[in-house]
């Protein structure tokens, strides 16, 4: 139940062992503290986990959460979140998805659903307004994600795993329509619990606190997105794929397992090549006004096309310049249900181990004929695929090569090579879930891609990074797509990079650190709203909850600290915020001493601003942010974290 609008007011708890369901208690105080989405999920997990809990323990929870703005008519706001203890990283992962499941779950009357236990046999869970049914999934088990969704096509909201999830590939993902909760291996946890699919259908819609004001805001918000150079022009025309050329220009296009930042054949796998020669039409998540997804033809069928990450990591990063192969591989990975980023990063690592004569997995840089076969071997854990299915960190535990196993906290890095965008490097290292570019604060957008702050200086990066990390955390928690956060960077600055005013703002950027720090300490001070950040006001008009820019950043700070302290309790060590030595010790450009990530230097500033000691939130900082956890649990976790490995 809830006094607020926007929320449906109920959280479902499903016990897969006993095949029962009940309501999980969640109060308005909980909503005020966590907003929703990944922050809500992080908070639920924080109060549930125990030290050393592992992904495939029966009492690991899968927490699927929505944001209060979903279903309220806000543009680009029907994304949902899946959080769990990750089998890839052994810490909390939160994985975001633009499919229809979240909307459908709210229509069934729930803001979130938690899965606990483990089913004895493959099961599909059906959620409706009145009931939860457990149906045998024996007939679905073994099907690809596409085949399984086809069988369940009568349900508007679906979650499915593919063979990779069933076989517990550590980076298996969960699909909902054509979108995926891709990272961190959430699909493997579904597979471990024998949860093949979940469906949701209903007839409800969230109530609105102030319908007139919200509708007015939504119209303005849509206009803002349509007139902004990034969301209104670049993304619709080129998709995320449009990043390949700018990344090449700025030397941040990961090439040959992150041994370089530029690739000669980049044009052949660029967003321009995709848009001009392969694009059939655009596609979109439900409720999206940007419509950036690509539809392409593979084997005569119109399917979803690749995003930037797949193009970059299965292109330059494995020395492949054949885009048609990438279109096919993207489809194959989708069908098998595997994260393209971690799969590519693990394969690239395997290629380098082979090149160095350490171990030959059968895959080599520049060779493309046997990649599809390797995908099958990984998904079904056959032969050499079995090792690669465990990800680059475990591969480096077994074979060595830690300096070039390109992961942070065990999760493979995205396609941005951080030695020419050092703020992104700091972000990768500090991101809670591992080598994620978005959880990192997506610094590349200010370090050259959107704005052009000096990408090689460490100054100011910690402060800006923290602000973006917190901001994006809250934006995600409300239910919105990350791409709506780019509108925070004023269009006139993005659209006119060489204008004098822009140059002045960019020159000042590295020095805004103290101001940003001030803002994050005195969170009550900025009781103002930036028209460029409609999210905060949308929450107020949709739910009736008190919300403004300051509150928004506070939610973000709470969320970021929440996952962080949960990870420490799970067993994350002090000093876990690391990058492989290739990125911190080896120069990308031998003639430029600045082209490596000065991580330790930036971390000092970062931790001070965050109120963390060696990567661990201080008790004082947690109390200031409103956490209520047991001091003895905290003390024990911190003591364990400080013990050497």
């Amino acid at each position: 139940m809830t006094e607020y609008c926007g929320y449906m007011g109920r959280v479902l708890l499903v016990d897969l062992t006993k095949r029962t369901f009940s309501e999980f208690p969640w109060t308005d105080k909980d909503r005020e503290r966590t907003l929703g989405g990944k922050i809500m999920a992080g908070d639920i997990l924080l109060h549930h986990i125990r030290p050393g809990m592992k992904a495939f323990d029966e009492d690991n929870w899968i927490v699927v959460t929505t944001g209060p703005l979903t279903g309220c008519g806000c543009p680009n706001t029907s994304r949902f979140n899946i959080s769990t203890v990750s089998p890839l990283t052994d810490i909390v992962t939160s994985s975001n998805c633009g499919g229809d499941f979240g909307l459908s779950l709210k229509r069934a009357g729930y803001d979130a659903v938690i899965f606990t236990g483990r089913s004895e046999s493959p099961v599909t869970v059906h959620i409706t307004c009145d009931n939860v049914e457990f149906e045998s999934a024996e007939e679905l088990w073994g099907l690809t994600t596409g085949e399984a969704q086809e069988k369940l096509c009568d349900y508007p909201g679906r979650l499915v795993i593919g063979p990779a999830g069933e076989n517990k590939v550590l980076y298996a993902c969960v699909f909902s329509n054509e979108r995926t909760a891709g990272r961190g291996g959430v699909g493997a946890v579904f597979g471990d619990k024998k949860l093949k699919a979940v469906t949701a259908v209903g007839t409800k819609l969230p109530k609105l606190a102030n319908e007139e004001k919200l509708k007015d805001l939504n119209k303005k918000w849509t206009k803002l997105l349509h007139t902004h150079p990034l969301t209104g022009r670049q993304l619709p025309k080129l998709g995320s794929a449009g990043l390949i050329a700018p990344m090449q220009a700025h030397s941040i296009l990961a090439t040959k397992n992150f041994s370089a930042g530029r690739f000669d054949g980049f044009e052949k796998v660029s967003g321009e090549e995709l848009a001009e020669n392969h694009l059939v039409s655009n596609a979109a998540c439900t409720g999206c006004v940007i419509r950036c997804a690509r539809k392409v033809v593979v084997n005569g069928k119109v399917v979803k096309g690749p995003e930037l990450e797949t193009l970059g990591l299965f292109g330059p990063n494995i020395l492949n310049d054949d885009i048609e192969k990438i279109l096919k591989w993207n489809y194959e990975l989708d069908e098998l249900g595997m994260d393209a980023i971690s799969c590519a990063g693990s394969i690239a690592f395997a290629m380098e181990l082979a090149e160095k004569g350490i171990h030959d997995f059968g895959v080599h840089f520049g060779e493309t004929d046997n990649i599809s076969q390797m995908f099958e071997d990984i998904a079904y854990r056959r032969g050499e695929g079995n090792d690669i299915a465990d990800g680059s960190r475990r591969m480096s535990d077994k074979y060595g090569g830690k300096e070039f196993a390109i992961n942070a906290k065990g999760m493979e890095l995205a396609a941005y090579e951080p030695r020419h965008a050092v703020g992104q490097g700091l972000g990768y290292a500090t991101a809670n879930r591992g080598g994620c570019h978005l959880n990192a604060g997506y610094m590349v957008v200010v370090e050259g891609l959107g704005l052009d702050v000096n990408s090689l200086t460490p100054h100011g990066k910690a402060a800006i990074g923290i602000m973006f990390q917190n901001l994006m955390e809250a934006i995600s928690a409300g239910g919105s797509c990350m791409f709506t956060s780019y509108a925070v960077l004023p269009g006139f600055l993005i659209g006119k990079p060489n204008m004098l005013l822009t140059k002045m703002v960019l020159a000042a950027f590295p020095y805004v650190g103290p101001v940003v720090n001030l803002l994050s300490h005195f969170t009550k001070v900025p009781q103002l709203n930036i028209p460029l950040l409609p999210h905060a006001i949308a929450v107020k008009h949709a739910t009736g909850m008190k919300s403004n820019m300051a509150k928004y950043l506070t939610w973000g700070a709470y969320g970021y600290n929440c996952e962080r302290i949960a990870n420490v309790i799970l067993g994350q060590k002090a000093g876990a915020d690391k990058l492989p030595k290739r990125l911190t010790d080896e120069l990308q450009d031998p003639d430029n001493p600045k082209t490596k990530v000065p991580l330790e230097q930036m971390k000092k500033v970062y931790y001070r601003a965050r109120g963390w000691k060696d990567g661990i939130p201080t008790w004082h900082r947690l109390k200031t942010l409103g956490f209520d956890i047991d001091k003895s649990v905290y003390d024990a976790a911190v003591a364990a974290a400080k013990k050497p490995d």
């Binding site: 022009r233 995320s240 990043l243 659209g495």
Partner: protein
């Protein structure tokens, strides 16, 4: 007058349908003026120095009046973001 090889990327390429073009110009500002004159498409007016991200021979160029040399490769990029 220098003969420069110009590559367009991003929205410039998609809107004008030009990917590669050779332009003779003394300095960058002249090259961009000439390009604007040739280009058709909804964003013709945006091919000016203030709007584009310009790279010459792989280096970011911030000088509007940058002198050009024969064989220079000039890239025009539009701001980008994604995931």
């Amino acid at each position: 007058m220098a003969k420069a090889k110009v590559k367009l990327f991003g929205v410039y390429r998609v809107d004008t349908h030009i990917s590669d073009i050779e332009i003779e110009a003394e300095k960058l500002s002249d090259l961009l003026d000439e390009l604007s004159r040739i280009a058709v498409g909804e964003h013709k007016s945006s091919i000016s120095f203030s709007d584009a991200s310009v790279f010459i021979n792989g280096e970011h160029c911030k000088k509007k009046k940058q002198k050009l040399n024969d064989g220079d490769e000039v890239w025009l990029l539009s701001p980008a973001s994604g995931g």
